[in-house]
């Protein structure tokens, strides 16, 4: 990623902290402090036009919060998000419609994200209406029919209701709705996590085809590394609200540097059955309300030392061509080979 082409979307120092304090009265009576949950805690990334950037990490690491920040469902606590260089974060009265039209979102649950009382045609046409993109109902009908066929459905399906469709077909409807306003950028939050693998394959293939045909840029979110490997040009591995490793997907997968990336890669169930009797990695993700000091991964990391326990590692260029936030990588003291996480002690267990 060089300065030759400006990224379509970029984030700088993006943070989202949630106030999860007990109610005021309890704080006063029980002398409880205010509590802040740092869901996203300083994120920098750039998404080049026409590519797929994936965020991957275990649940609770902040992926969905990033998605919601990007499409404006949350206001950031700090930092900025730029779309073609325009800062979206000082948007007191919401984004200009021109920009909202150009970014859309696909959610995980195709059951909850489609209004059950609307016909499919109205669901798909809603963004068209919202942005006043078509002059009359006849052209709207034609456009909805075209979109349905584009996502592999029948143009007559518009007259039906969401409950008449399977999960995979509903996700196709969500995609048709998302692309109806001719956006450049789609935020896809776990779009296939609720689907069976055979249906997931159909949807992922469709998303790749649409990207090629329509020149779309994706921010793709998943906890499934194999799916991310299939979809991505660039990836960012998240742990407790921060990116710990990022770079071209090919490089990160071929030569993972950060101990957490290696751990994640090592835990994927292996359908080639080559490593059936390996030891599972140990430990669980700590609580983001009170994250460990220094590198948040240090309690699970076999390479942690005194510096890791006190000093937050910044993202730096690693020899692999990726960027990694790890003192051991920066100091060149990381052994090759698989990572055996440190078993959790009771003090680190989430309760």
């Amino acid at each position: 990623m060089t300065a030759t082409s400006e990224p379509l979307v970029s984030m700088q120092g993006l943070k989202k902290h949630f106030d999860v304090s007990p109610p005021w009265l309890n704080r006063m009576l029980e002398r409880k402090p205010r509590l802040h949950l740092r869901a996203v805690d300083g994120l920098d990334l750039e998404i080049p036009r026409g590519t797929t950037f994936s965020l991957v990490g275990e649940s609770g690491c902040g992926k969905s919060t990033v998605a919601r920040l990007v499409v404006g469902l949350y206001a950031p606590t700090a930092g900025s998000i730029r779309f073609e260089g325009t800062d979206l974060t000082d948007r007191p009265a919401g984004d200009p419609p021109a920009i909202r039209r150009r970014m859309q979102m696909i959610f995980q649950d195709p059951y909850a994200s489609l209004n059950p009382r609307w016909r499919v045609r109205d669901i798909i046409a809603e963004p068209l209406k919202c942005f006043g993109m078509l002059p009359d109902r006849a052209s709207e009908d034609r456009e909805v029919g075209r979109l349905l066929e584009l996502v592999g459905m029948n143009s007559q399906d518009g007259e039906k209701y969401p409950h008449e469709f399977s999960g995979g077909q509903r996700q196709r409807i969500s995609i048709a709705r998302a692309i109806s306003s001719k956006p450049d950028f789609l935020v896809c939050d776990e779009p296939t996590s609720a689907l069976d693998v055979s249906v997931q394959a159909q949807i992922l293939n469709l998303m790749k085809e649409l990207q090629r045909e329509l020149g779309l840029t994706y921010l793709f979110i998943s906890h499934d590394l194999a799916v991310v490997h299939f979809m991505s040009d660039f990836i960012g591995v998240m742990y407790l609200g921060r990116i710990v490793e990022t770079g071209p997907a090919r490089q990160v997968f071929a030569n993972p540097q950060h101990p957490y990336t290696r751990l994640l890669l090592d835990t994927i169930p292996d359908i080639t059955m080559a490593r059936r009797d390996r030891e599972p990695v140990a430990g669980e993700v700590p609580n983001p309300i009170d994250p460990p000091p220094g590198c948040a991964f240090h309690p699970r990391c076999p390479f942690s030392d005194a510096r890791c326990r006190s000093e937050l590692p910044e993202l730096r260029n690693a020899p692999s061509g990726a960027r990694t936030a790890c003192h051991a990588v920066a100091e060149g003291r990381l052994a090759d080979g698989p990572v055996r996480a440190v078993p959790s002690t009771p003090a680190q267990m989430p309760t």
Binding site: E58, S59, S166, G168, Q169, D196, V197, S198, V199, Q200, A201, Q202, L204, N205, K208, H223, D224, L225, A226, V227, H229, F230, F253, L263, L264, L265, T267, I268, P269, D270, I271, T272, M273, R276, E279, P280, V281, A282, G283, E284, V285, S344, T345, P346, M349, P350, T351
Partner: protein, 326 residues
């Protein structure tokens, strides 16, 4: 109790739902055996009938669902027609169950210790102190750190992964011979999932329990199961040793399923896709239920339901293997 025979024999088992428009067959004449200590994975897309198969074996089917035919034998004796009270005793003592959501197996109002002690005392002739000792041992075995402290905690004080460990301990309290685990790791993150599967596998081995592991995740099967049954539309499409089914699938459905899974390290730009989706119970096609989606379908596939035939070390229900195998 004969030692040599299978622990569990399922013969032509059907599960039907009585509806206003007549019975719907959700599990359709399936047969398989389970040896003592064996881990059988049951995979397939959602709605294939995996959970109902487990529910029928544990005797937990609820109206309007019922066993529509066939037999289930456990240690040689029929259990599909046992009176509810006898089935309940068998379920706690000889057959354990683990579900996707650990909270369905745990009472939120009691400490995990109390639940373990009560279950142990229901099934084993132990005093309170001995039962508590046994509970502590079990918690340690399933990898709960500091069990002396954790035993007096409530379920909500545990993380999802730790709760599922408690449920495994609960299922193994009475040293059952069979554990039915229905999607036990589906709600968990991959790194936790691997830990739970390892615990499940190790403990069942140590306690000599056989496992029916129901999951939609081929990766989980490949890592854990000795044998695999692949279900489609209420039928077993293919059953055999895990290595054979995963690495050399024979049934076109299994082959499609395997191809649709993204695998790290392959550079494919497109995943194999099986067109369409699994039919609803109301419109399961005649003949082979998979034929409308099958790339290998022939004319007779729409007419005759293929019966499972021996292929390699397993069985495949597909006309391609009807002539005695390839």
């Amino acid at each position: 109790m004969k030692q040599s025979g299978p622990l569990l024999e399922v013969r032509d088992l059907s599960v039907v739902f009585d509806t206003r428009r007549g019975p719907l067959t959700a599990v359709d004449r399936i047969s398989f055996d389970l040896s003592p200590g064996e881990i059988l994975g049951v995979v397939g897309e959602s709605g294939a009938g995996k959970s109902l198969t487990g529910t029928a074996i544990t005797g937990l089917l609820e109206r309007p669902g019922r066993i529509g035919g066939g037999e289930i034998r456990f240690e040689g004796n029929r259990i599909d027609n046992l009176p509810p009270e006898q089935m309940r005793r068998l379920r706690g003592r000889r057959i354990g169950a683990i579900f996707q959501d650990p909270l369905t197996s745990l009472n939120p109002l009691f400490t995990v210790g109390r639940q373990l002690v009560e279950t142990i005392q229901t099934h084993l002739d132990l005093g309170r102190e001995q039962a508590r000792q046994r509970a502590l041992e079990l918690l340690a075995e399933v990898g709960i750190p500091a069990p002396e402290k954790r035993i007096d905690h409530y379920p909500h004080q545990f993380s999802g992964g730790m709760r599922q460990r408690v449920v495994i301990a609960l299922a193994l309290c009475a040293n059952p011979k069979l554990v039915i685990a229905d999607e036990p790791t589906t709600a968990l993150d991959v790194s936790i999932q691997a830990q739970i599967l390892a615990v499940l596998k190790k403990l069942c081995r140590e306690h000599g329990a056989a496992v029916i592991l129901v999951t939609h995740d081929m990766g989980v099967i490949a890592e854990t199961a000795d044998r695999v049954a692949v279900m489609y539309s209420g039928r077993i499409a293919e059953i055999g040793p895990a290595a054979q089914v995963v690495k050399a699938p024979r049934h076109p459905y299994t082959e499609g399923l395997m191809g649709s899974i993204p695998v790290i390290g392959t550079g494919a730009d497109r995943l194999t896709q099986i067109e369409g989706s699994m039919p609803r119970l109301t419109d399961i096609p005649a003949g082979c239920a998979f034929h409308p989606r099958c790339p290998c379908a022939r004319a007779d596939c729409a007419a005759v339901r293929p019966e499972p035939r021996p292929v390699g070390d397993g069985k495949v229900a597909c006309v391609l293997y009807d002539g005695g195998g390839i």
